[in-house]
């Protein structure tokens, strides 16, 4: 086997291709679930789950292994880290823009503030930016989203819940 010297930056670059299977416009880097990369004889990738029961966790772990194999990195392991717990505050600015363009309202920032969990803030419509929006359902197609509608442009849209 030929050992190729690879840099951490190169690995990070490759990993930024890995999409979230449920919201494919976002990569794991945008989502903030990529918590660390160590490159030695083995490449160790640290990931954190968004929700305890997120069914995408295993898919993402496999995608990370696949993408590194594709680039010739054979010795890969994925480590699941739980602490500190993922928060929507870790979604990057670029990720927030991508979500908005995709039609999903990005989560409010400052999730550590408990009052945000009580929904006492306005969510802007990703289509017309109006703040006159209403909750249709606290739950949506995946654990991380709620359903809203805009009372101005009438667009129904999903909101990435703030946790």
């Amino acid at each position: 086997m030929v050992t190729i010297q690879i840099s951490r930056e190169q690995v990070l670059d490759w990993l930024s291709e890995v999409p979230d299977p449920e919201i494919p416009v976002l990569t794991i880097t945008d989502l903030g679930i990529l918590r660390g990369v160590t490159v030695n004889e083995e490449v160790v990738v640290e990931l954190t789950p968004t929700y305890s029961g997120c069914p995408a966790t295993e898919v993402i772990e496999q995608s990370v292994i696949d993408v590194l194999h594709k680039h010739g990195v054979e010795n890969v392991s994925v480590k699941r880290v739980l602490s500190p717990a993922w928060t929507t505050d870790w979604i990057s600015a670029e990720g927030r823009n991508k979500l908005r363009e995709y039609g999903i309202a990005p989560p409010a920032e400052g999730a550590s503030k408990r009052e945000l969990l009580h929904g006492k803030h306005s969510i802007a419509c990703p289509r017309c930016d109006s703040l006159n929006t209403a909750v249709v359902s606290e739950f949506g197609s995946t654990a991380c989203k709620a359903s809203y509608k805009c009372t101005d442009c009438l667009e129904p849209f999903e909101y990435f819940k703030c946790i």
Binding site: P49, S83, P84, S137, F139, A143, I163
Partner: protein, 252 residues
């Protein structure tokens, strides 16, 4: 009971509560008359099963007998499950399910907050992850309890009956046994006495909002934490474990 045994028992018990409640909620998947509640229930069930997996994975590592999360869920018998009796009660009608969730999750949220300050790093990590999820559940379920209690005469009457009949299963949550005591002393675990005070205060507010009467002191059922269950758990486990018992090691 020594420190290691208490930690294993404590973590595995947290997994049992999460799994058994998650499984109960799975029984209701595709049974809700309305899409929002259908999604809520399925999402909540998924959170509980995810939490059970994290607790069981840790328990299996602590045990060191080459078992995994699936062995804990599918290959243990009824008396090895140490979940609360409250959790295993049948779903009943919607008011029963909502009441059960509010009674348990009000306790569980306080417990997880306290566990976030214990000295075992892994328990802290899981508790802090789970706490965020339960906070979201509880907000939703509390709104429903208030809506049903302060709703029509019929919904009020039926949900008051739910509170009255489930109340007898709440005492067990706060009754410390050896596992709780050793975990508290050795790992800075939750003090169930102060959790009880906070729980009673919170529940009193919710019930008052819901115009429901809070039951007084009464006889409390117990035994779940020691593996002595009501008749309902066995049927549920039989169904849940059927596939692994019939086709050991089956996967896809």
């Amino acid at each position: 009971m020594n420190r290691d045994k208490a930690l294993l028992a404590y973590v595995s018990r947290l997994g049992d509560n999460a799994l058994i409640l998650g499984q109960r909620m799975v029984e209701l998947v595709a049974a809700y008359p309305e899409l929002e509640e259908e999604l809520a229930n399925a999402n909540f069930a998924l959170d509980f099963i995810g939490q059970a997996r994290m607790f069981y994975t840790y328990a299996a590592e602590l045990e060191g007998k080459d078992r995994d999360e699936d062995d804990f869920a599918f290959l243990r018998d009824e008396n090895e499950f140490r979940n609360f009796l409250l959790i295993e009660q049948p779903n009943g009608h919607f008011g029963d399910s909502v009441t059960k969730l509010v009674l348990f999750e009000s306790f569980y949220l306080l417990l997880l907050e306290a566990l976030g300050h214990c000295s075992d790093e892994r328990v802290v990590a899981i508790a802090m992850r789970a706490e965020k999820e339960i906070r979201y559940h509880l907000r939703h379920n509390t709104q429903w309890l208030v809506r049903l209690g302060d709703g029509t005469d019929e919904s009020h009457e039926r949900v008051q009956a739910s509170v009255d009949s489930l109340w007898q299963f709440t005492g067990e949550m706060f009754a410390p046994d050896d596992v709780d005591n050793v975990f508290e002393a050795e790992f800075g675990g939750p003090d169930l006495f102060s959790i009880r005070e906070a729980w009673e205060a919170n529940i009193a507010i919710v019930l008052a909002d819901a115009t429901l009467a809070m039951p007084g002191d009464q006889w409390m059922a117990s035994g779940g934490k020691q593996g002595r269950h009501t008749e309902h758990l066995g049927y549920m486990i039989a169904e849940m474990q059927y596939l692994q018992r019939t086709h050991p090691g089956a996967n896809w």
